[in-house]
């Protein structure tokens, strides 16, 4: 009932005076709202029972040198038909202040702090004004995404310490973990407050790996930045490059050939497969059950070697190009892929049987790290983690891209929100991915795979693109600059949204279960830190 159109009418009735302009952009309705009224409008969209808009993305754009203004854009996903709704507002001239929406919409908390760090705009009323991306040793006034900040600035190191939230009292201890961890994983800092065994509070202090990806995009040409997108988060090479390519394609009005779209779906599912299989093994390993870890490691390796044989890259690097895919597969190669998966599927099903007949495993998984449906909704959690907590969302179904219009996937949904549910989502998705790949092999049409870009996009036009990577929804906003360059590229990996949710999922659990919970979320540090 509440699609974007009715939402527009409804909003116009309720907040007509605050809305300056209503225009659709690439099919997404956009409302330009007066700056000071934005929190009310956002709150209305978020809480109205017919709309229930989840905060999907919040980004800022510095329009200088053309215009002296900053623009803030708030993207909501309406809960029923998953339509997008965009709110925009301007900060004219030297205005640096905007009203925070975090007190009402928790999902905005990190986005607003990120905007403060990267642009120097201040979210007035934000409950947590500490730095997020810039650690405390960064000099004051360094806001990398401002246009007057040079991309190759050498930063000075100043003194400063991060102030963690502290719980004090008798028998309360603080346990610091990281940034360098015991396993072969990425750096991040976790600060636990414990009383005895149970965790009372966890604070995540990330962004150790901040490499300035968004600023680096701004130095590149639209058609050349695909390889940078592939390296945002290495394990999601296809997901990120595909989201980037799609955004640029809609800027250039490029139509990807049907065969190209099928191949994109194929590669995306292969990536989902090897990552999910690896994660299932790693979850078992974190309960000290080494056997499935070994089997899963073997199957994951099998798929990665298959990737290497058909595309020349174990991570499927270089397959996505602006306009389609760079590699066409022969009929034999497609048959080879399906034959390999025909071997893996029964192999994996056997393993599943062994897993769930093991009581000591299920005992560790059940009721561990519960993320409730309400918390998941409050933090707009998505992807595998969301679908394990009853958040029914899958971009492949809600906003079909690549070949998913013709190959609708069955969305998986569980409600318990514990580690077991997150594992179950992965197991079901593994079978679903294999089914999709078989279908792709049968239905893939003949023809070309790549359309070459011909035009240069108009300056200041921008496009939004969404891809369901194996972790969840990857969003890219690409804005064209002068002469085919990028003016702004907002990258949003699902990890950025799901990381804060761990802080709630671990409460009341014991520290030895933290690695297990963390692994069941399986989030990227690189994609989060950018």
């Amino acid at each position: 009932m509440a699609d974007a159109q009715t939402a527009m009418t409804q909003l116009k009735e309720a907040y007509g005076a605050s809305i300056a302009e209503m225009t659709p952009i690439n099919g997404t309705p956009r409302l330009r709202v007066i700056k000071d009224d934005l929190p009310q409008v956002a709150h209305y969209i978020h809480t109205h029972p017919h709309l229930r808009g989840a905060m999907s993305l919040l980004w800022a754009v510095d329009h200088r040198p053309r215009e002296a203004r900053y623009e803030l854009c708030y993207l909501f996903t309406l809960s029923e038909q998953k339509d997008w709704l965009l709110l925009c507002t301007d900060l004219q001239g030297d205005d640096r202040l905007f009203r925070s929406i975090t007190p009402h919409i928790h999902a905005a908390k990190w986005y607003e702090r990120e905007i403060r760090d990267m642009f120097g705009l201040i979210p007035v009323g934000h409950p947590d004004m500490r730095r997020l991306v810039r650690h405390e040793h960064w000099p004051k006034g360094s806001h990398p995404l401002k246009k007057d900040f040079r991309w190759d600035t050498v930063l000075e190191r100043v003194k400063g310490q991060h102030a963690f939230r502290r719980i004090e009292g008798e028998g309360v201890f603080e346990v610091p973990v990281g940034p360098i961890h015991a396993g072969i994983i990425e750096p991040g800092h976790f600060r636990f407050s414990v009383a005895g065994e149970p965790i009372m509070q966890l604070e995540i202090h990330h962004f150790w790996k901040h490499r300035g990806v968004e600023k680096l995009f701004e130095q590149q040409e639209l058609t050349a930045a695909v390889s940078l997108a592939e390296r945002v988060s290495g394990d999601t090479t296809v997901g990120h490059s595909l989201a980037y390519c799609q955004a640029v394609e809609s800027l250039l009005h490029l139509e990807v050939p049907r065969r190209g779209r099928y191949l994109r779906s194929l590669f995306l599912e292969l990536e989902r497969l090897h990552n999910h299989i690896g994660d299932v093994g790693a979850i078992c390993n974190d309960t000290a059950y080494a056997l499935p870890h070994a089997h899963c490691g073997r199957m994951k390796e099998q798929i990665m070697q298959l990737n290497d044989r058909v595309t020349g890259s174990r991570f499927l690097r270089g397959v996505n190009r602006v306009g389609g895919v760079g590699i066409d597969l022969t009929r034999e190669q497609l048959t080879q892929i399906v034959a390999e998966l025909d071997g893996i599927e029964p192999d994996f099903t056997e393993l599943e049987r062994i897993l769930f007949a093991n009581a000591s495993l299920t005992d560790r998984l059940e009721t561990t790290g519960v993320l409730t449906e309400q918390t998941a909704w409050d933090h707009a959690v998505m992807g595998v983690v969301g679908r394990a907590s009853g958040v029914d969302q899958d971009i492949r179904r809600d906003h079909p891209f690549a070949a998913y219009v013709e190959l609708p996937p069955k969305a998986v949904l569980y409600r318990y929100g514990d580690v077991r549910a997150r594992m179950r989502v992965r197991l079901d998705e593994i079978h679903e991915s294999i089914r999709l790949i078989r279908e792709i092999q049968q239905r893939i049409p003949q023809g070309s795979v790549l359309t070459m870009p011909t035009e240069v996009p108009a300056q200041e036009t921008w496009a939004l693109s969404a891809v369901e990577g194996w972790r969840g929804e990857i969003l890219y906003v690409v804005m064209a600059g002068e002469q085919g360059k990028i003016h702004r590229c907002k990258v949003r990996d699902p990890s950025f949204v799901n990381w804060p949710a761990i802080q709630w999922a671990v409460l009341g659990n014991i520290i030895p279960d933290f690695p297990l919970i963390n692994k069941s979320f399986s989030l990227s540090y690189a994609g989060n830190d950018l």
Partner: protein, 187 residues
């Protein structure tokens, strides 16, 4: 629901199932295409340095800003297919237990201090291996405000393994060269 197991198995039945699966799977170790000679050979001075470690090498992996593909390949080294443990290559949980540091990624502004700390914490004699293009020359992230330079700018590097990311076979090849000459592996 597929895969949902309602059947109740006794411990013994499941054990037989596990054994059956293991027998069916057989040995998968070594089933990978072999790597050619490393692009950047290991110099003699480094080989002399690692002589003390004899046939084993204990590694601490440090990520200073990689895209996590190098981490995935390091993890793959420990899977049953590559099984680096069979050559005496271990992953240590702490730098204080390590003979070698494997560093991946360009060194970010935020990780610079942590990297230096880890280096100080690793007991001598030690070697440092820069894994992947980013660790060697910052790769795509060269020049960024958030990157302070390649690993070599901060700590001395003994071995370079280029690639984006290098394949596990290539990593294994180099690591094998660092072990005692008399017991070279079949790779």
């Amino acid at each position: 629901m597929r895969g949902m197991i309602s059947e109740r198995l006794t411990r013994k039945e499941n054990m037989f199932r596990i054994i059956k699966k293991s027998l069916k799977t057989g040995v998968v170790t070594g089933k990978y295409p072999r790597a050619e000679t490393p692009v950047v050979p290991v110099v003699q001075a480094t080989k002399d340095k690692t002589k003390l470690f004899r046939r084993s090498l204990t590694i601490r992996e440090v990520d200073t800003g990689s895209c996590n593909a190098c981490e995935m390949e390091m993890n793959a080294l420990m899977n049953p297919v590559y099984d680096a443990e069979r050559f005496g290559i271990h992953i240590a949980a702490s730098p204080r237990h390590a003979d070698a540091l494997v560093v991946t990624g360009p060194v970010t502004v935020n990780m610079e201090r942590a990297l230096k700390d880890v280096y100080m914490q690793t007991p001598d004699p030690k070697i440092v291996i820069a894994l992947g293009d980013c660790a060697i020359n910052c790769g795509m992230f060269k020049g960024s405000y958030a990157v302070t330079g390649p690993v070599e700018r901060h700590i001395p590097v003994d071995v370079h393994i280029p690639g984006c990311p290098p394949r596990p076979t290539e990593i294994l090849k180099v690591l094998s060269e660092l072990r005692d000459e008399r017991r070279r592996s079949d790779d």
